[in-house]
Amino acid sequence: MSGVRAVRISIESACEKQVQEVGLDGTETYLQPLSMSQNLARLAQRIDFSQGSGSEEEEAAGPDGDAQDWAGAGAEPDDEEGLVKFQPSLWPWDSVRNNLRSALTEMCVLYDVLSIVRDKKFMTLDPVSQDALPPKQSPQTLQLISKKKSLAGAAQILLKGAERLTKSVTENQENKLQRDFNSELLRLRQHWKLRKVGDKILGDLSYRSAGSLFPHHGTFEVIKNTDIDLDKKIPEDYCPLDVQIPSDLEGSAYIKVSIQKQAPDIGDLGTVNLFKRPLPKSKPGSPHWQTKLEAAQNVLLCKEIFAQLSREAVQIKSQIPHIVVKNQIISQPFPSLQLSISLCHSSNDKKSQKCAPEKPGPEDHLYVLEHNLHLLIREFHKQTLSSIVMPHPASAPFGHKRMRLSGPQAFDKNEINSIQSTEGLLEKIIKQAKHIFLRSRTAATIDSLASRIEDPQIQAHWSNINDVYESSVKVLITSQGYEQICKSIQLQLNIGVEQVRVVHRDGRMSQHQVHAVQQLAKVMGWQVLSFSNHVGLGPIESIGNASAITVASPSGDYAISVRNGPESGSKIMVQFPRNQCKDLPKSDVLQDSKWSHLRGPFKEVQWNKMEGRNFVYKMELLMSALSPCLL
């Protein structure tokens, strides 16, 4: 019964005043209701004083209690009840009162019963046993129905969830722009430095934080890509983010370094073609802004390199001045040799796309030097960031640590010069170019000599590990097949920036043959009779001196004499024993036959008709032919 409010019963009598008279104009004059005293008088007349007083008291208790229950009742009925026991039929509320009273009694009784039953001590409620309801349906049907209900409930929940998901997906589609912009921005932030200025997002693609002092600002702006039509299909490579790079960094650039033999006319300067190099293919995973920004950064670096080079070209005093024209620096490291460094910057305008891309020739570009330029500028950047520049004490200005010491410790000019690296970028590159040129020249010379001269073979071993300014090559002059014994001539060439230093291990090339014979003699057991590196007899050679050797066979019968000169070639003579020569003049002086065993006149060997691959081989054959085989 909780929650049910007590119902208030209000009773009102329709006390209409009695009409006394109705006026001619329709107004009604009411009888004034009796005032209290008048009423009391009227009632008093009705009292039958002959009756007993007990009933008065009873009646007084009851109506008093009732008076509280009655709300809104007028004073008249109360007075009436309290004073008179009159016939019930005369009082209009009696039945109502009786009914209410009985209802109240009933309610009180019920309330009492319920409170007692609640205690369960004195009274309990017992359910009325009913017959089991006859099952209207079979148990399976009941289960089916219950299962259906539960499934329907579950289905409802799932449907609600699905509806929510589809709603969020559609919302996603609509808000794709907004959300992807933020995630793209996050990705951009992982690669580049961004900062917010006002309501613009600016980024920095310069090398300033890496130590560059180039005054270009290098800021790019990040803008939202809003020109997307939601109705049309979104293209594959759509990106909600776009970057706007400064106009002078658009396109792509590279530094071209090349060496040309002839110096062109002055009029041709400044007309370096801006090659439109095919755009480097971007890595498959990288978004288009990454390639754009990287290309712009490369352009900036190339500009910095070129600015540094041209600044040095103008400032540095050198014997042959460097020429700086538009986007090209021309210098002459060696006479009749021209080194040109140019900045090729092609923007992405439609104009430059029209001219056909020319393929640069392979010997045109010196990629190594270009790479080295990049490395040098990066080194320069790192120098400005190194901690030797930081001041200690902290109030001192920035500058090299040793330069600060130069004042207090009174360095002289040489010491100060040794601290400062006076070489600029340009000088370094020119030195490297000189070295490269010299090296290629040397290699070409050696190769041509080797291909021209077949007999002693010239082998060149270039060392793999070279400096940018120095390379070395070992040249071996050997005869094929006899490398081990004829190792006497070895040259080591150290190719520097401007000179080639040759370190001979031994004599010159023409002596090789003779030395080879000497070694061979040792091996074959022949005796060396005479050996001369520089013979004074015979025709004078234009380069160097001829050398000669004479070897005798083990038995002494034969001797071979070899004279080798760089120009005159080799001359081989064999000395036979006297008894083998037929046309010796007979003489009476020699009586004994033993003298015929001595060696006699020389005979020249037709060396070009000898069998054998090379000189030493032929010599070996000759020696073995002249040694009697001991069988």
Binding site: H392, A394, S395, P397, L405, P408
Partner: protein, 208 residues
């Protein structure tokens, strides 16, 4: 013959007239870490540098009312570093648009007998302190975050006591006179440090 007057005018002649542009601020001790992190991100990418310096301020009282001030500073943690002598002129007033404090500045590296030399010249040491903190750079800008320690026993740099519970932050550039765009760059940089530390132009005269 009268001694030439000690002048407050900018030192001219000989070398280029260098001006120091300065912005100052301070942070409480507990915010130091976040400030250092932020500076490491904003400044040039180098290993963080710490320093421990001992500075002595020398005065020469001449006939003028205001004495001539020279600052001698030495590094306590780097052996072999030269002493640093500094003259700072009066701040240039007038231009409200200039965002940084500008004053004439002369920096000289000296050998270790600087204090004896100054004493012989007639300077007297006014006060000294120890500065300990971090040093950053961004291009030509130098950012120094340091704590000042008072020296309790004159001459003894081991007995020190911190002057306050905060760190002083200074952003300075030494550049030739006339380059006012430097102060714009400084202000832009100071903007980026804004919520952590407010760097502003503090006129030393107003503090006294």
């Amino acid at each position: 013959m009268e001694a030439p007057p000690v002048t407050m005018m900018p030192v001219t002649g000989g070398t280029i007239n260098m001006m120091e542009y300065l912005l100052q601020g301070s942070v409480l001790d507990h915010s130091l870490e976040s400030l250092i992190h932020r500076l490491r991100g904003l400044c040039d990418n180098m290993e963080p540098e710490t320093f421990l310096d001992h500075e002595m301020v020398f005065l020469l009282k001449g006939q003028q009312a205001s004495p001539f001030v020279l600052r001698a500073r030495r590094s306590m943690d780097r052996a072999g570093a030269p002493w640093h002598l500094r003259y700072l002129g009066q701040p240039e007033m007038g231009d409200k648009n200039r965002h940084a404090l500008v004053r004439n500045c002369v920096d000289i590296a000296t050998s270790e007998n600087l204090t004896d030399f100054l004493m012989e010249m007639g300077f007297r040491m006014d006060h000294e302190f120890v500065a300990k903190g971090h040093l950053f750079r961004k291009g030509i800008m130098k950012i120094v975050v340091y704590k000042i320690f008072r020296i309790l026993v004159p001459g003894n740099t081991d007995s020190t006591e911190a002057l306050s519970l905060s760190y002083l932050v200074e952003l300075s550039v030494v550049a030739p006179a006339g380059q006012d765009m430097v102060s714009d760059d400084m202000r832009n940089f100071a903007e980026q440090l804004k919520p952590l530390v407010h760097l502003e132009k503090i006129d030393p005269k107003r503090l006294m």
